[in-house]
């Protein structure tokens, strides 16, 4: 009794949006580029800071030598040292002079600092390095020289000067703060710009989507926007496809109408001619009926447009109302009490012609067989992945009903139209055909009202 047809299968893999792709790539490139730039700049600045440090230590060293006096008893420096920091313990600037035998002078600032460099350099050599005095990091400069004192004695001295990292680190961190601050701000601005550029560039695509939606909802016939050259080919192609599809559909319907007219009118003439005979040959009448039924069935089947890709959601209730008015006019002597059960605003995704064909045939059947009552139930079903909800249509009457063994025959599609069950025109076969085109199901049952209950379910999409 039920004819399930097909099943919309298909797993949907999440596809990364163009927006996200471009943003991710832009962000990665930006971070890599700015990170590299930042670290190169950082490195260069550190090197220049160290160079400056070395120069400064060299200067201190020379001022110490300039102020020093070498006598036979040793190196003597004035109480007022050239750099006052050398006199202050823990000031951060230190100096120590050694000869072959040991220390001959140390700056008062060294008091309490465990820094006793013993390295001796050949005259003229310098060595700049970073070392630890206890736990305090220092930049140190050592310089070897030979000096003849007033007595003509040759001294081989090594002068060590050192400075702690306070100033170096202060400069470096100030530089880093501003460097990374600016780089960060630049990336933020660049990313924001990128985002705006993206939105602006993808705007035409969004417009295509909006235009397509407008076509779907029946608010437009074609894509109307003006599009940039890159997607003009696509949109023009779509427009051409849409209008040719529409032209084709119109031509098709016209052809069907003409075909129907040019086949049915001669049949009507033939029928009329037979009617005039005093005794019409029954086999001739029967053959005409067969041709008529076959033509009718095939034409109506061909006219069923089936689900359209760009179908606007068609509200079901107004169409039902129009059909009921037509039927009340066509069955003026039948006063059926028609009850409508529906929830929400059920919609049909297809052409008006198809919906009228589905409902019209079922209602006509109910009007034909119903005695007093008729019930139509319209129920929207769950939505599918494409956002289109399924639809259940039920038409029920209080007539004699359909016997189960007949139900099969009434609905079986693809049957030869001339084998229809008497009393049920080809209408129900057309309905079954349409339902299968929509990949839905149709079933016949006995309803609460006592007569036939036809139930159609159209799948979600």
């Amino acid at each position: 009794m039920t004819a399930p047809i097909g099943e919309a299968a298909g797993s949907r893999r999440e596809v990364v949006s163009l927006n996200r792709r471009l943003l991710v790539v832009a962000a990665v490139v930006l971070v890599a580029f700015l990170g590299l730039t930042g670290s190169i700049l950082d490195n260069a600045f550190r090197q220049s800071l160290e160079q400056a440090q070395q120069d400064r230590l060299q200067g201190t060293l020379y001022t110490i030598l300039a102020a020093a006096d070498l006598t036979a008893s040793g190196l003597r420096l004035p109480d007022a040292l050239p750099d006052s920091r050398l006199s202050t313990p823990g000031s951060g600037l230190y100096a120590r002079v050694i000869d072959e035998h040991g220390e001959i002078w140390r700056s008062p600032s060294l008091l309490g600092l465990p820094w006793e460099p013993e390295q001796r350099l050949a005259p003229g050599d310098t060595r700049f390095q970073r070392e630890l005095a206890g736990d305090q990091p220092l930049y140190t400069l050592a310089y070897g020289l030979s000096w003849e004192d007033a007595g003509g004695k040759e001294w081989t001295l090594t002068v060590h000067v050192a400075e702690d990292l306070t100033s170096y680190q202060a400069q470096l961190s100030a530089f880093r703060r501003s460097l990374w601050g600016w780089l960060g701000a630049a990336s933020a601005v660049l990313l924001a710009t990128q985002l705006l550029v993206l939105r602006w560039s993808l705007l035409p695509l969004r417009r295509v989507a909006a235009d397509l939606r407008a076509i779907e909802e029946g608010r437009a016939e074609l894509l109307h926007g003006r599009y940039p050259a890159e997607i003009l080919g696509l949109t023009q192609g779509l427009n051409a496809l849409l209008s040719s599809e529409r032209r084709r559909a119109r031509r098709y319907q016209e052809t069907l109408a003409n075909l129907a007219h040019s086949l049915k009118t001669p049949l009507a003439v033939l029928r009329g001619a037979l009617d005039r005979l005093p005794e019409a040959p029954p086999e001739a009448l029967e053959q005409i009926a067969r041709i008529d039924a076959a033509v009718d069935y095939q034409l109506r089947r061909a006219a069923a447009a089936a689900p359209e890709t760009l179908a606007a959601p068609l509200p079901v209730k107004p169409v039902l109302e129009r059909l009921l008015q037509t039927l009340r006019k066509a069955y003026p002597d039948k006063t059926l009490d028609c009850e409508l059960r529906s929830s929400g605003e059920p919609v049909f995704y297809g052409s008006e012609g198809d919906l009228m064909e589905l409902l019209g045939n079922l209602l006509d059947n109910a009007f034909k067989w119903g005695r007093q009552r008729l019930r139509v139930s319209i129920t929207p079903l769950a939505a599918g992945p494409g956002g289109r909800r399924g639809l259940r249509l039920e038409v029920e009457d209080d007539g004699p009903g359909i016997r189960p063994e007949q139900a099969q025959l009434v609905l079986e599609r693809g049957r030869r139209a001339d084998e229809q069950v008497p009393g049920h025109g080809i209408g129900l076969a057309v309905v079954a055909e349409l339902v299968s085109a929509f990949q839905g199901t149709i079933a016949v049952d006995r309803g609460e009202l006592g007569g036939a209950l036809f139930r159609i379910e159209l799948p979600a999409a």
Binding site: L267, A268, Q325
Partner: protein, 226 residues
Amino acid sequence: MRLLVVEDEPLLREQLAQRLRAAGYAVDTAVDGEEGLYFGREYPVDLAVIDLGLPKLPGIDLIQRLRAEDKRFPILILTARGRWQDKVLGLEAGADDYLVKPFEMEELLARVAALLRRAAGFARPVLCFGPISLDTRSQQVQIDGRPLELTAFEYRLLEYLMFHPGEVISKATLTEHLYQEDQDRDSNTIEVFIGRLRKKLDPDNRLQPIETLRGRGYRFALAPPK
């Protein structure tokens, strides 16, 4: 009853006209929508049979134009396609019933009779005025349960009078609605038919169902059904 048949296929048009005339109707035929519109405007049409697939002016448009001009006679459409959309559009345009080709002539005649009866304001197929009853389905007239032999023309004449009970109907009106265009339109022949009808309906002049109003016309005088 004056019927208008608008059908472009000559054979079918002729068949329809012949069959309807044989049933006692006066029939005018039009070959396309424009001619149909002309007849519909100019002639006292009681009912039109219109094919939907007409040249020049499509059937749907013809019906809309007629209704827009306040022509209220019933319209039966003939359609080649059994599509519901066509039926709905046809009836929404203003038609009253549809018939899908090919059809049985008997079916057409029954639909025409029912439409005419309903247009005259009778909900039931049998009209009862006193002892006279007229069955629009079988086209039978009975008096006190006795069937009456009437010609097709006599039946239409009686039907016309019974469809307008209590109204004064001039000879000219009767001629317009009952006579074929090419028939002898001498109004005196109406008197002859009325006389025959009276004799058949009321042989002993007891009921007097049809009154003559001098210089004005006739009136069906029996009480309408309650």
